[in-house]
Amino acid sequence: MTIASLIATPSELTDAASNKTAIVLMTRIRLARNLAGRPFPGWATPAQRAKIAETCSAAVAATVPLKRNLSVSVSELGELEKQILVERHLISRELSGSKQGSAVIISKDQTVSVMVNEEDHLRIQVLRAGFQLKKSWNIINGLDTSLEASLDFAFSPTLGYLTACPTNLGTGMRASAMMHLPALVIASQMEKVVRAVNQLGMVVRGLFGEGSDASGSIFQISNQTTLGESEEAILKRLTSVLQSIIEHELNAREKLLEADAGKLFDKVGRAFGILQNSHLLNSSEAMNLLSLIRLGIDLGAFPDANRSTIDRLFIEAQPGHLQHAQKGEFDPGQRDLLRAAHLRSEFANFVHPDFSPINCEKN
């Protein structure tokens, strides 16, 4: 498989958007693993890195979920290609800027990716649309076990899997859900949610992880600690936190409808108007407008079938995807023009919102 054909195939995230994905857009689990007896990537010499990459890539490509894959070293990828993979959450920003000897192996369906020589020798990731922590864990656990057959991992009975950074020690597992929380944002309750979630040992980040903003009301919630608890216990805790956030978001939506439905409908209606008619949209504004349309779909103002279109546009509005589609590199000003043009054409034939079926009364 080539990078071109991978990019031409829609991401897992643009697909399969059913009702179940209404609030949890995507679930992701990653495991950090290192080979025993080799220095961690950040401290290894270029020759050692090359050897590690060779060993890891061969072992990974031999596993069942990655039989059909794209296997490529980071130095072979162009800037735009790397950006697209970051926007699809298939590689990290850190890997895209890494030195010689880093690689990535991505499954054909883009649900499994393994980064080699990122911060750790192996960063195994499984990504699924919707709320699928259990399924993702089963897949990644199986993949990890089959890697054990050919790789000796750095492991200590007391400290668990040994990682370059002690914050990943133990299970080496980071599980996260990408959540769409527009009502909590509109009702200014996100700060409260973030604080409560932090107290429960979970972290809230923006769409693209550490340091990114939360445009489009999209947040990533993940476990903070990795040592002292089993994977199942961490996932159980995360699941209950996610469920309670979903509940809060649904309550906030109900309250917004009760308190001032007209105001909410106005936001969705205006977003629709801007998407149909604007000529300049930066990616943050585009994300926020698309988020409001998605909220409109969840409320019933648009048919459910349109949700997958919005999820696709969330990704197509990103700078890398936009430039790839337009076959060139453009400065931010030109991108805003192109982005608006793309969204205008997408929304030209979009169904108009119909707010009449929405029940604003308290049940």
Partner: protein, 168 residues
């Protein structure tokens, strides 16, 4: 002075020395001009020590920087700079400074999750085989042939077990 103090964040000579008492513990930070500026130390009103203290607390005694991993050559100073280790053996080398850190960092300090069974079993068999082979050489050398025959049988049994496909 033969050995001028080095900056805690980079290797340049330190010219700014800061002592603060936080929860009845003395924290000392030595910085070069550039790092002090970058961290806002020169502007006392906007200065937050927390970030620096975290790094400084990793170095409780002045001789701490001398610790060095035998396996990969990583030093405590390297860890202070990067916040990451050089290799798996560093976890043994720097155990003394790591343990107090882990306490606040994680839910517990002992792993209770997945164990790489297949790999550990393989390692166990490998070690057992190495030991048996030594025993065998030993037994032959000292002409204990009955024992040698027993050991040889055991070796072939272990080898057979090792060649079986790992349990799924």
């Amino acid at each position: 002075m033969a050995n001028p103090l080095k900056c805690d964040l980079c290797d340049k000579p330190a010219t700014v020395h800061l002592t603060q008492i936080v929860s009845s513990k003395v924290h000392k930070v030595d910085l070069c001009e550039a790092c002090a500026q970058a961290k806002g130390v020169t502007d006392p009103s906007g200065f937050s020590l927390s970030d620096l203290l975290l790094k400084a607390s990793l170095n409780p005694e002045p001789s701490g920087g001398a610790l060095r991993c035998e396996s990969c050559g990583y030093t405590q100073l390297d860890f202070k700079k990067h916040g990451r280790f050089g290799c798996a053996a560093c976890y043994d080398t720097f155990k003394g400074m790591l343990d107090p850190m882990l306490d606040g960092m994680h839910k517990g300090i002992t792993h209770s999750g997945k164990v790489p069974q297949t790999a550990l079993a393989r390692k166990f068999l490998h070690e057992k085989l190495t030991k048996l082979e030594l025993d065998l050489t030993d037994a032959i050398k000292s002409e204990r042939f009955e024992e040698a025959a027993r050991t040889r049988d055991e070796i072939s049994q272990v080898k057979q077990a090792a060649n079986q496909p790992p349990p799924r």
